[in-house]
């Protein structure tokens, strides 16, 4: 059984009625997304800004309510739980946020922030045990236990993200949703944080849903990758497979944009024309067809389904040939 199974998840946002009176008034942030995460595995979620990555992540752990679809966590339907039951289940899945500058309460010391996680789920026996656990967590994420008494404003961005990680790990979760955990940090710190996350995964066996728009990062950390465009999954499969031989035109364009260190590289950069369309009024057929260099007539009319083209490799494109039958 998978740790997490997401089936046909949809997230809708009500568009501001006053300004967009003529449109259908509904943003399809996440449209019909399904995937699964095995225990201890990392699933990378990539896509450009505004394609619904964060909405998907938040809907999975029910920080926002999905419009339809189901989320199974350890065989339990999360979308049907009432508020109190959901709160107690939150111990099993945690989240690391994008911006470490705003996710810590400015009036709470690092120790208090981590201690809150312990208090909410009543994970410590007595004051002494609580203090000790906080110290252990701080050293686990590479901070000095003395730092427990410092306030967020006394830390650097990387250190704050470490506190955020310690807070998420305090309850010993099985799944951690990392919503662009390094995009607000500078490159040298990014590497530290990513290595820290990998080490923690190795020692604690946590599964990650790792959201990023940095393809170099996602290849480094994840076993499988999900590529999203306009709220839909375009391609899914083994990380190495997708990075070496992407099948979907969108993934190909995305990968061609990754900077390469070799100045003599002959690689062709695929430049996509135009902007991503608005999710309020998505194009007919394949959502990618207005920008796709290979689009045909049927791309405009039929929405391609996500089809299996190899072992665990799925692509939603009319132009990618399915494997020969039999």
């Amino acid at each position: 059984m998978s740790l997490l199974e997401v089936c046909n998840l949809k997230v809708r946002f009500q568009a501001d009625r006053r300004r967009l009176r003529r449109s259908s008034g509904c943003v399809r942030a996440v449209d019909d997304v399904s995937f699964a995460i095995e225990p201890g595995e990392t699933l990378g979620l990539v896509g450009e800004s505004g394609c619904g990555k964060t909405s998907l992540a938040r809907a999975v752990i029910r920080l926002i309510e999905p419009a339809s679809g189901s989320v199974w966590f350890e065989g339990e339907e999360l979308t049907r739980l009432d508020a109190a039951a959901l709160r107690s289940r939150r111990r099993k899945f945690q989240m690391i946020f994008q911006d470490p500058y705003t996710t810590l309460d400015p009036l709470m010391t690092a120790g208090e922030a981590i201690g809150e996680a312990l208090d909410v789920h009543q994970l410590c026996q007595g004051e002494e045990d609580r203090r000790r656990q906080i110290e252990v967590l701080l050293s686990e994420v590479g901070l000095d236990p003395e730092h427990a008494r410092r306030y967020p404003h006394e830390f650097s961005g990387g250190q704050r993200q470490r506190i955020g990680i310690a807070r998420a790990l305090a309850v010993r979760p099985k799944l951690v949703v990392c919503d662009e955990p390094v995009s607000a940090l500078d490159v040298s710190v990014q590497a530290q944080i990513i290595n820290l996350l990998r080490e923690l995964q190795r020692s604690l066996g946590i599964a990650y849903l790792f959201i990023t728009h940095d393809l170099a990062v996602v290849e480094h950390i994840s076993q499988r990758i999900l590529v999203m465009y306009l709220g839909r999954v375009m391609e899914a499969g083994e990380a190495k497979l997708i990075c070496r031989s992407p099948k979907h035109p969108y993934t190909q364009a995305l990968l061609s944009a990754v900077p390469v260190l070799d100045p003599d590289s002959k690689r062709q950069r695929i430049i996509l024309p135009g902007e991503p369309p608005s999710p309020i009024d998505p194009p007919s057929g394949c959502p990618f067809h207005p920008r796709c260099p290979l689009a045909e007539a049927r791309c405009r009319e039929q929405t391609p389904a996500l089809r299996e083209i190899g072992a665990g490799h799925q692509v939603a494109c009319h132009l990618v040939a399915p494997p020969p039958m039999g």
Binding site: R87, F97, T103, D105
Partner: protein, 341 residues
Amino acid sequence: MRSNLERKRLRNAPTAGIVGGTAAWALSLSPAEAAWLRFKQNRAACIGGLFLLLTVSFVILWPVFRAPGIANWLPPSVTYAPTALSNLQFAAPAAGHWFGTDVHGRDLLSRVVYGARISLLVGLVGAGVSLVIGVLWGAVAGYVGGRCDQIMMRAVDVLYSLPSIVFVIVMITTLEELFKGWLAKVFSPEFAAMGRMLFLFAGLGSVSWLTMARIVRGQVLSLRNQNFVLASLALGASHRRIIFRHILPNVGGVVIVYLTLTVPSIVLYESFLSYLGLGIQPPQASLGSLIAEGASQINPIRIYWWLIAFPGGFLAALLLALNFLGDGLRDALDPRAAERR
């Protein structure tokens, strides 16, 4: 306590002279200790706090001075009764009457102390009501949002739109009509006379929390969408925990500052009501009614300056001290304040 803290600070910071750099010594201090250190660095706040403490204890202890055993030990000028009449009218401040006497020959010092008692009580009750009702009302409206917010804030708007003075007058007189007989029957006729004060509190309280509720709601509305609230939700924290541990502490600074502004406005409101004959009735006095009395004695022939200077100066000193204390508390309770300075 004090020397212990100082030692800790010195041990942890070789450059303890630079008190702005909190990081070095904040390391081994608990948040409460660090807040106390920050408060101590603010001299105006310390003096204000000390002045308030002395004034309040002096004002509370005042009746004790007239007790037979104690009065013998004190100079006679601090043992007058506030309502004791004498033939010495309009005496200028002197050794016998430090603050002089008023039109009925009453000792002004005792009247000022007596007035401060009532003014402080009125101010604190008003501020307390605005703190409890205003903060809770605003916090719930802002946090829950949606229709609940609409209904709660429209109620505030309705109360706001009524001319507050008319509202308070109607409130005090109706309450008095309704409950005066009941108070006299259940307690005692003396208590019924005191009941006037209760109605005054109710009237002042009913208008004092409106602005506070609006301010708190606005703050909560912006805090509710902060990422750290979302992070807390993701952690599994209950809404009650989020309101009391994250939201309210973060509106604390604004609330403290607004409270220190509420106290003077209520003290002045009370003096206005007293002037209309709805608040404190003579021979009782409040600082406001004393100032009004002093102002009415101003005439071109003789200037009885002490009648207005002492109660006025006392009121001004109290309010200044309160403002300094409020500012100091706000800065002390915010760990980021030292960096901003």
